[in-house]
Symmetry: D2
Subunit: 486 residues, 4 copies
């Protein structure tokens, strides 16, 4: 059984344009031999890797260089690493998407003193050229696009188990690597200083382990850091809702009537962007406080039934299930666009549309027309999966924040004094969260003000932060709801 729990992970950060930038990636014709059966060496004779094609290294290097330009925070960490090596002696085993952004992270970890071994957390998302560029530089990478399930676990295994090499840190995205160690190599945990986990699903699993008393090392939940949450939800969705709709449907936003279900951070981002471009936006909410905010922000708060007959676009951002059921789909007007920006693919009841009287036409990638007997059609995007991940790209800047958070979490766990972290799941300390933010400010030519001694005393704060208490958060509705099911 492949432990990829949901569509979220499968599609997360799958870069839509990779096939454009590296056409050979999709060229199955060039080499049908499995990477596992090939013998490849990099230019220095190294062969501790397993990838698609080492010859793509140069192309991959250029992609990595492009990513470096926007990942300024990691580049800053590298500069600091010239004088100090906070990860000297660290041996990190990682399992994430293998993309140019991950490559920048890995090369930064190396610059900070760490050794790395890496596998892919998704069988489709590896950018082969990037993997080649990493292998060429001597990174033990085991990943290619289009792995079988057996390949997937084989790759992870090759990362964990190597004679004479003992990991002491785990960087995971989805929990499969952690799961593998639990199942096959529990002894490894003796040496592990901690796990850094980024995904909703992986964090969920860690909390379950913790609750069951089975978590045997400290774990850092970087998914819920303030900076990451704000960027993943509000700021990223503000842009990706427009991009996702445009790339799939070329719809004009001006004058369109849109209903957005849910006014958490994701909903706020969607509403703000659409309003700014001239759409008329309605909101549905279950929580009166969020509803009141929607009112004050200039949106009419309605029940879905009040507007479903005349809206042009329906967007779900609730984290809930069955928000747009068949009874609403039946009442939509001809040409209505339906899509999901929430945290799971349950919000639109897509299953209810697979009935004999309805005709499905697949008109473009990620676009289906579902046609009623009377000729009415709705335009369903990404079959109800996450629009922003399926039909848009995640900006490198957002990934930079995630990667920097991961790097700092690894540094924190590796350098923490004995006993500081127990066998539990932790949030990134507020101060390090603030540090991630501060590392990204130069990209905006932004200049922080420093407290004077007198002011710091007046505010009862340390001049270098943290500036807010650990409990101070801008948690979104969705992240809570998901956590509440834990």
């Amino acid at each position: 059984l492949l432990y990829l729990a949901d569509a979220f992970i499968q599609s997360y950060r799958f870069p839509p344009h990779s096939s454009i930038t590296a056409p050979s990636d999709s060229d199955s014709a060039d080499d049908e031999v499995s990477p596992r059966e090939k013998m490849q060496k990099n230019s220095k004779g190294g062969s501790d890797f397993c990838i698609k094609n080492i010859k793509q290294a140069e192309f991959g290097r250029r992609e990595i260089e492009i990513a470096e330009q926007e990942m300024v925070a990691l580049m800053t960490l590298r500069k600091r690493a010239r004088s100090e090596k906070p990860l000297a002696g660290a041996k990190i085993v990682g399992c994430t998407h293998i993309t140019s952004q991950t490559a920048v992270l890995m090369e930064t970890l190396a610059a900070l003193g760490a050794q790395c071994r890496w596998a892919a957390c998704n069988i489709y998302s590896t950018q082969n050229a990037v993997a080649a560029a990493l292998a060429e530089r001597g990174f033990p990478v085991f990943a290619w696009k289009g792995e079988s399930e057996d390949d997937f676990w084989w790759c992870i295994d090759r990362c964990v188990s190597l004679d004479g090499w003992q990991a002491n840190l785990v960087l995971d995205d989805g929990g499969d690597l952690t799961h593998c160690i639990y199942k096959k190599y529990p002894n490894v945990f003796k040496y592990i200083k901690g796990i850094v986990e980024e995904s909703v699903t992986g964090v969920h699993r860690l909390y379950q382990l913790s609750k069951a008393g089975k978590l045997c090392v400290p774990a850092m939940n970087v998914n819920d850091s303030v900076t990451k949450q704000k960027f993943d939800n509000l700021y990223c969705c503000r842009e990706s809702i427009l991009d996702g709709l445009k790339r799939t449907t070329d719809v004009m936003f001006g004058g369109k009537q849109v209903v957005v279900c849910g006014y958490g951070e994701v909903g706020k981002g969607c509403c703000a962007a659409l309003k700014a471009l001239g759409s008329i936006v309605y909101v549905t909410e279950i929580d009166p406080i969020c509803a009141l905010q929607a009112c004050m922000d200039g949106f009419r708060v309605v029940k879905l039934s009040q507007v479903i007959r005349h809206v042009d676009i329906v967007i779900t951002c609730t984290g809930n299930k069955n928000v747009v059921g068949r009874e609403y789909l039946d009442r939509m007007k001809n040409g209505c666009i339906v899509c999901n920006m929430g945290h799971s693919n349950t919000e639109i009841d897509v299953a209810s549309l697979h009935t004999p009287e309805l005709t499905w036409e697949h008109v473009r990638p990620q676009v289906d027309h579902v046609i009623w007997p009377d000729g009415k059609k709705i335009i369903l995007l990404a079959e109800g999966r996450l629009l922003n991940l399926s039909c848009s790209t995640v900006p490198t800047f957002v990934l930079s924040i995630t990667a920097t958070t991961q790097a700092l979490a690894l540094i924190e766990l590796y350098n923490a004094t004995e006993g500081r972290y127990k066998q539990d799941v932790y949030l990134l300390p507020k101060k390090m969260d603030e540090y991630v933010a501060s590392l990204h400010l130069p990209a905006f030519d932004a200049h922080l003000t420093e407290l004077t001694d007198e002011q710091a005393k007046y505010l009862n704060l340390n001049k270098n932060g943290p500036f807010k208490p650990n409990y101070y958060r801008h948690v979104s509705a969705q992240s809570f709801r998901i956590k509440s099911t834990i």
Copy 2:
């Protein structure tokens, strides 16, 4: 000594137009006799009150009726009170500003079953006509505009100590009533079920009592309820920054360059409003996370020194002290407007402007020109006190949220089962916070969506809320900073 700790309380909710609507209020000529020396009776012969002039009752009644129109939530509570009286038996002693909005609250508490006795929490803020209207309806009110300090404490005393009447709830705004009971009538606490406190200062005092182990009844901090915070800060300031600047200076916003110091909730509101009206806004921040938000919202984050020479308007919203010191005031350009929207009057170093070489000209109420020897002048508003309270009005809608929160806090304390609340300071339960919000939705013709059973189960929520955990808050930077000094 008068325990009115700061300018915040003195000016809070002092309605700027009351003198316009009721000119006789300010007419000291009409009656120089102290209310304490006058014998007045209402039309039913009652005399258990002490106010300026019972004849103003009709005018005051109209003001109350106007307020009722916007205070829909309290009116809804009154309707429900026809069948149930959750405050039956309650005896509330109150000490707040005596305004038309407070009158709506008091008459609602009475409709819910309570008896009330009331004094003013500020010697200037009483609307005499409103006090008259309340006295005419039989409320024991002891308050007038222009009390002496002795009058102030005498009025409070008259509320607390009455033979045959024993208060069991306290509604305070600033802590003076609570202080009086502690000092003079400590036995009263035996009967008190709890204290509801609304002001920053009063809450501060309660936390100090609690810390010192001297709090002898439960207290409810309604200042930090989510709904109140959002409205008092983000939404209210978004409007009052424009109103305050316009009423004092008639400045045109389009094209003006503005620097806003601090990007918490208040700063966010100010920035959003000014940007929307065509100003070019710069932000200063000490916290990198807030700074990054400012970047993403489209504001350049600068040090004050980078822009101080060319901005047209400087606005402080930090909660900090000495943010705009003399060194910045010296560098401002001719005609620069300087004002404060933060939580105290310390942000602009006004004291530094009282030096011999500078000339002050008082040009309008709340507007001073401070003139340098070379002729340069800056326009200082409200002498650095809170612009939104000094030069603008607080919309009735915002006061409605506060009053409703107070009413529900009283109901909660009065009906709580024995032992539910200890001798500590509590936040309003999340569910009641949500209830306050829901009572205000009809004003916007907003319709909440209800969870299905299936959805509630999926989200692990009760269908009637609370929809967020108690720790879920949108706390602003300032409120934290102030609390952090406790």
Copy 3:
């Protein structure tokens, strides 16, 4: 008969705060003697003026200095006047509102070489202290606040007819001065090089004269210059709608439902401001092109009957008559605010509200409650007159644009070669319109780009402008409609 044709003129640019800044203005008690019966001399012994009280000169001077700060364009003209005097020999007779801004204009005209004699165009709008300051500097000013009709014409007469002084330019605002010359001193036109007229009404009269073949000198219509129109309508209304509503009603904008009748420049300004502050705005339109623009800008275009029952605020901006008739007023909900931002007081059918069954309560200056028999009340502002002129102030910056346009029009007429202008009504040449704009750019620290020779050739433009043809205009719907009735 007093030739003040409409409420527009009566209220135009009447500064609401003048009574605040100079309390003695309204102090009728201090001196009940008519200025015409008083003998006053300024400090240099001059007495060719007739004003309220020469002793107020110092206070008025300060008001003028404040105005100078924002009227940068006129100050720039003064600097240029050091080397050239384009109005040397000009003798200007003027009739406008006598305010601090007008004083800056008059003193600029003097600096450019002109002699001026001035009367007020409105019996109420004179700022007495400003008139005193002008008289103190030797300007022959004949104006005071509270003139009788007889005073009004006497003052104009004193400006026009002075032995040994012969005007050669006319600056009028409303057409009364022009009318007076036509009626009493037609010979004066022999010497007049032209009339500059600023008001809608005055321009209307000039076109009527021209049409009737009775215009005997060139006239410059500065009301319809592009720069003035954009500022008077779009940009000024964007701010004054908020200010006017706030000062009269303290209404909170967030979440309010508003219908704006008319989507010309004024309507666009109102809609943009209210949307930006969180109102939900509906638009009514008769012109499909404007309606389509409203759609694309994110407003629902409706018939008034569709929304009249549930909106909180109704704003008219059509230039039309009877847009909000009794049938709509009857259907408004309790507490609905009704006001007019259009070009005349005909848009709301206020007359229809003067029926026996309705009760009027005057609750504040410019605010009436009109109450239906069932208790429903609407809140009518400024009795349907122009909200932005009645309940708000016109920013000095807007007046600066008008005054600069007037100054340039006078220069143009005075220096035009013989025969360039016939006995007709002219618009300000595009190039001078652009010059007015360019003089205001430094206030925003704005830097124009200059065409290279090569670019100018490519675009077929002169490097110094005009950059648009004379026919290129952003004429608003209203200004056309009014002109179309000529």
Copy 4:
């Protein structure tokens, strides 16, 4: 010589996704035989057409049906055509892009009574499947994707010259069809009632003909109709700037510093969209009136040299040439994105970048990296051609407005009384322009208000419009500049 004058025409409305929706279009392998050598018949046996592959008809029909959904105005015209046939007897020869939107237009013209013969105005832009669907329905279409220059003229020839068929109306896009008739079939003009031309270039040519006295039939310039201009420029660019940048670079807009050169309608659209998504936008302008508008809209107006070193994105919208020359390109920072939204490809001096010391890397379609010797790279989009046409799509709704305007212009010319139109270039009558707008209002569920008789009289307007005079325009700076070179 191929008369495709500029990149504008070559790229205009070339649908980026056509290759996605109809993969066989790009499949050169399937059939290398030229359509001119193939014999094809539609299902009814007709063969008066020449297209790629009649078998694609069904796929093309679906694309047409999708377009019909958004082209509501033409569908409304069809409904009206049931009772009247305003084009009965019309024989239209057309030369436009052959897309699904054009197909809706052609089928509408047929429904209105016309016969049509059609060729492509561009050798690349034909959607083969759509051409097939038209041919299947019996339309004589002569067009395929990838025509040679010889094919291009052969197709036009086949449309014009057919024994027994004599065109009496011309619909042209770019002027090639008109040119062909002038050169080869001048006699045809005897029968032609008029030419309708849509492109800037084609209109330019017509004005040149008119100026030279060689225009022998009336021509209608539909390019400059108000509705079309507003949509092509302001509203369309507001969306396409975001789409074009996102599809090519995946850049995050939040916090980016952007300079927009030119603040006409296109620049206004770009600035508004980017500001709304959190970019910090600077504007350069040559015209002080436009510059003042930029100030009031909240943008700093600068010279390019002031900001070129620190901006992240440079966008040209001037219609001018050499606005961003090598001296600016040299100073840009590493990673700066440069693109053009103006009316020609001259704005960025791309030629200056073709020097030996600079390296070009073509990284994606429409994206080049230009690399300086020191490693600095700029990201040049579409080689300086129009971003919105090269890297984005034009929404069907915008095309609907154009197509409806064309249809009405044809009806107007065909039905005009003898002598109404001379041998000159005309703008669409204001009333028909308004009619185009009104036909699109139902798409937004927008409801126009109708004037009462009384109001119409007051405004001196016809109740059915036109509501503005013919000279009333919202002409953009660019359109003027281009026309000024005529």
